[in-house]
């Protein structure tokens, strides 16, 4: 009897490991393919049948992409929009997150629910009226207009995430600082803020990635000053295949790298702790 349950357990464990590895491969293999494609020279990309292992590693395709018209400009535009989005949403959102974390006040729950429910509203519906408005304001086709829309999209998340970050920083520490002669503002800047900094940085990186990846609004709101995904999207059908592969790789890489840096916070951000 004991022997039987033991062997059943063992089979269960082995199956669990197999399944876990299979799912990991399902996620990693497509990333591997696009990486191989991006580092293959053009004639290998066009060849048939393709080898599933990298043959010749070359920068030809990536350089072809970088040197293509507008690509560097739009890469730079993407960085600018993402940085603007990150700064604006932190400056506006973090105080609200702090308020949700520290105060009990009438209307708090209502505010939380409104913030949460904004997720039910698709980004598609914001882009078109805002495009019309920005045209009237003379902001159309300017990077700031894309950033403003990305902030509208990112702000609710920033508020909720920064609120959970500040909840993680003990209120007693701030109170202790006021006992030792700091005023309210000093207690915040000297005690709470430094402790919250890593979490706030993680939230900022998350916002950066959100903006970096966004296609629809960026495509609607710009004509000349396109971000990289917007540029890729409008040109995609007319682009040679090596250009698409290199472009896909370029959009992918920063996102995956950033994710690696916030992997610890990613889960504390959503209240998950893995032991």
């Amino acid at each position: 009897m004991k022997q039987k349950t033991f062997s059943r357990r063992l089979i269960g464990r082995v199956l669990a490991y197999l399944l876990a590895i299979l799912i990991a491969l399902w996620i990693l293999i497509p990333i591997y393919f696009i990486t191989v494609a991006a580092f293959s020279p053009k004639d290998v990309i066009y060849s048939w049948p393709k080898s599933l292992l990298p043959q010749t590693i070359s920068l030809e395709t990536l350089l072809f992409f970088i040197n293509a018209q507008y690509v560097l400009d739009s890469l730079w535009n993407s960085v600018k929009v993402a940085l603007l989005t990150l700064v604006i949403s932190l400056v506006i959102g973090a105080p609200a997150g702090y308020a949700l974390a520290r105060y009990i006040f009438p209307g708090k729950d209502a505010f939380r629910i409104i913030i949460l429910s904004t997720r039910a509203f698709p980004i598609v519906i914001l882009s078109i009226p805002l495009a019309v408005t920005f045209m009237q304001w003379g902001l159309y086709d300017k990077l700031i207009s894309v950033a403003l829309l990305h902030v509208a999209m990112a702000l609710p998340t920033t508020i909720l995430v920064t609120s959970s970050v500040f909840i993680g920083v003990s209120k007693e520490l701030e109170e202790a600082a006021t006992v030792f002669g700091c005023n309210r503002v000093q207690a915040f800047t000297r005690v709470a803020l430094p402790l919250a900094l890593p979490g706030l940085a993680a939230s900022a990186i998350f916002t950066f990635v959100l903006s970096w990846n966004e296609v629809f609004a960026a495509t609607i709101l710009t004509i000349q000053n396109r971000t990289l995904p917007a540029r890729m999207f409008v040109q995609l059908a007319a682009s040679p295949i090596p250009f698409r592969f290199a472009g896909g790789f370029f959009i992918l890489v920063p996102a995956v790298v950033f994710m690696f840096f916030i992997r610890r916070y990613l889960f504390s951000l959503w209240g998950i702790t893995l032991k």
């Binding site: 990693l28 105080p95 609200a96 509203f121 598609v124 078109i128 999207f233 472009g247 990613l266 893995l274």
Partner: protein
């Protein structure tokens, strides 16, 4: 400490966010109504709506979007549940697994589309693989829009990219289930399936609800991944909104499509809320 004095501090801290969301979130929504239901000189009209419903693109886009949702959401849910349950098994290296499983969170729909295009394209990795197995002797044209294959490719790309968010929500939910419940069930002789079906899933209901709402809403807006894989061969609702704005230069029709997407999103959110009511909400 004076409890009676009204504390303005939290409201001052919230003010910037409220103003911002009013200006760049609520106001555009209102304007969207205006664009969808009014003519250029401000008359109320249903003409835009009629034009959308009679448009050839509309039927196709709606059908494709609905088919994608029906195919994608259940697959994602089952896969994410398996992934989340694996995390409960406390495997060695599960931190590494969590990182790998959450990588797609950071991948844009456009990049995912391009990646799966590289797999399904005529001289792509799938054809190369099938050739090396000897299944085919010349490339098979998967992305021919007269077949169902582009749809399959899009479903796989979306399941690949967006299962992570469901996974994260479900793991968060699983963490909040006390281990005692699961262990108690085990002591009373419940097998693995019984534990999952009778203990874990009922307790997980609020997270399941959140995950399904989130995913369906995102699936209604599916956009770049479709164009990246199927090109012009296939259209979805968000793509029609884009085309009406950019190519046909008609913001009214584009806004009408956007309103339609919003309506579907809200209806699905409502259905899930009703179908998966938790105990506290039952009272309401």
């Amino acid at each position: 400490m004076n409890l009676k004095r009204f504390n303005w501090e939290p409201y001052l801290l919230l003010l910037p966010s409220i103003l911002y969301l009013a200006l760049f979130f609520a106001w555009p929504m209102v304007q969207s109504f205006g664009l969808a239901f009014r003519t250029d000189d401000g008359q109320l009209t249903l003409a835009h709506m009629q034009r959308m419903f009679n448009d050839v693109g509309f039927t196709k886009a709606l059908r494709n979007t609905v088919m994608l949702i029906i195919a994608i959401v259940p697959l994602q849910f089952i896969l994410a549940l398996i992934m989340a349950l694996l995390m409960m098994e406390r495997l060695r290296g599960s931190n590494m697994l969590v990182y790998i499983y959450s990588i797609p969170l950071a991948i844009s729909d456009l990049a995912a589309g391009i990646i799966w295009f590289s797999i399904f394209t005529e001289r792509g990795y799938l054809n190369s693989f099938l050739y090396s197995l000897g299944v085919i002797d010349k490339p098979f044209l998967f992305l021919n829009y007269q077949t169902k294959w582009p749809l399959v490719a899009i479903v796989l790309a979306e399941v690949w990219r967006a299962t992570s968010i469901v996974f994260v929500v479900l793991v968060a939910g699983l963490q909040s289930i006390p281990r005692d419940y699961v262990e108690a069930a085990e002591v009373f002789g419940a097998g693995w399936f019984a534990r999952v079906w009778r203990v874990i899933l009922p307790l997980l209901r609020p997270s399941i609800q959140t995950a399904l709402i989130l995913r369906t809403i995102l699936a209604v807006q599916v956009f770049a991944v479709v164009s990246a894989i199927a090109g012009r061969g296939m259209t979805v609702l968000a793509n029609e909104a884009y085309l009406w704005y950019r190519e046909y230069r008609n913001p009214h029709l584009a806004a009408t499509y956007a309103m339609f997407i919003l309506t579907i999103s809200l209806i699905t959110a409502f259905i899930y809320l009703r179908a998966l009511r938790t105990k506290e909400e039952m009272i309401l």
